[in-house]
């Protein structure tokens, strides 16, 4: 019974994190973007600096009519948002925020492997949406999404493999356990490659060619309305949380910090994740969108060679020191 309660509590916490953290990131994006652009952002909803803006948005989305185009593949069209969203929920379970078994949803032996595999499924949602909409813009967006996944999954995988080599394990808590401060300069190339490739997989600016609004309306999500559209947006922000959390755990030492490693480790994890999420927003405001061919070229001619070089470096250093 105690075990069951323990599991239920873990699932509940993961679920609550899954529902709240993306909203916090979204609200932060509203405000940070606004201030970077010399605006105020939402100020009305909730009274204090528009803190309840996303709740208001949610209420609005829930009341909107759910339009499925007559020409669409109905079932697939309706299922797509769920397929896009749920993988990120599963990934959250495996991300440790503190030392020991108490601070992670579930310790998975094949952590890195599991996480990368499940994250790849999320893109399937966009593909389903793009194809099932029977809309030319959606189809273009869906194909671009697929091409982007193909290009950026690889450097992401190689960069993660580099950390697994350094730690000698693929378990996420195991990797953070093995972390030393000098891994930071050692794995910096891998970290950058992982983070950038992750951004591209989330189709965040400057890699938002698949949803380029000034060009193909909103890519695969063009035909979506109401709640289903909201779920796609939630998936994007859940993806940011997951990506920042993973980068923290794999490359930035997770719960390790200059002080307070015992007891306050989770604060470090959350702090690093929050800073990375801020960087994600910052990049969106700073850089213009990459053109489709630039996007492909960037991955194949820069990120992939860099990640291969990182693996070579990791291998040599690891064998020399052991």
């Amino acid at each position: 019974m105690n075990d069951a309660l323990d599991v239920a509590l873990r699932l509940l916490i993961v679920f609550v994190v899954f529902l709240t953290f993306p909203l916090i990131v979204g609200q932060t994006e509203h405000k940070v973007m606004a201030h970077m652009q010399g605006r105020l952002g939402p100020m009305y909803a909730g009274g204090f600096h528009g803190w309840a803006q996303l709740i208001a948005d949610g209420v609005k989305f829930a009341q909107k009519e759910d339009v499925v185009p007559a020409g669409a593949d109905r079932r697939i069209f309706q299922l797509a948002p769920a397929v896009a969203l749920l993988p990120y929920l599963l990934v959250l379970l495996a991300i440790p925020i503190g030392p020991g078994e108490g601070a992670v949803g579930q310790v998975l032996d094949a952590g890195v492997f599991f996480v990368l595999a499940v994250m790849g499924v999320g893109v399937l949602g966009s593909l389903m949406a793009g194809w099932a909409s029977a809309n030319k813009f959606s189809l273009l967006g869906g194909l671009r999404t697929a091409a982007q996944l193909l290009s950026y999954e690889l450097p992401m995988l190689l960069a993660a493999a580099s950390v697994a080599m350094a730690a000698g394990t693929v378990s996420l808590p195991g990797i953070v356990d093995a972390f030393e401060w000098w891994w930071l300069p050692w794995q910096i190339t891998g970290a950058l490659v992982f983070f950038i490739a992750g951004l591209a997989e989330l189709q965040r600016p400057p890699f938002d060619m698949p949803v380029a609004d000034s060009e193909i309306i909103f890519g695969a999500y063009t035909e979506y309305t109401g709640l289903r559209f909201a779920l796609f947006l939630l998936a994007e922000y859940a993806g940011i949380v997951v990506l920042c959390g993973l980068t923290t755990v794999l490359f930035l030492g997770g719960w390790h910090g200059p002080w307070g490693a015992d007891g306050l480790g989770w604060v470090w994890t959350l702090l690093k994740t929050a800073i990375l999420a801020f960087v994600v927003i910052w990049l969106r405001v700073t850089y213009p969108r990459l053109r489709e061919d630039q996007l492909q070229k960037f991955s194949w001619t820069l990120l992939v060679p860099l990640s291969l070089a990182q693996i070579a470096l990791t291998g040599i250093v690891k064998v020399v020191i052991s």
Partner: protein
Amino acid sequence: MRETLREPTVVAAGYFESYSVVGLLAVVGVLFVAVAFGAGRLLRPVVPTPEKLLTYECGVDPVGEGWAHTQVRYYVYAFLYVIFAVDSIFLFPWATVFAAPGYGAATLVEMFIFLGFLTVGLLYAYKKGVLAWT
């Protein structure tokens, strides 16, 4: 490598136990989506009109089918990806043992052979002009 071979059943048992929690969470997720869609059905209006259900094409009547013939320009990338990804998957089991005592130098040479293959493949693709836009 040697350790895992000695007691395969024990490893497998713990492995699946931890994934049962993943399965439970997946059930929670599916329930969440089902409840959200169900509640949405109760909350939202349903007033379909033929115009509303028309495929969106910048406000004009759609031309032809949505599932139009498209030139998939990225298919070569798909080939490249499959080749590379299948190779990279093998990095992970190898990564966990390569620096273990008694492996060191030999696995490092192996790694460079592996990286060499990947690099040559990439250079070949580059030389063939696959990575440049036409």
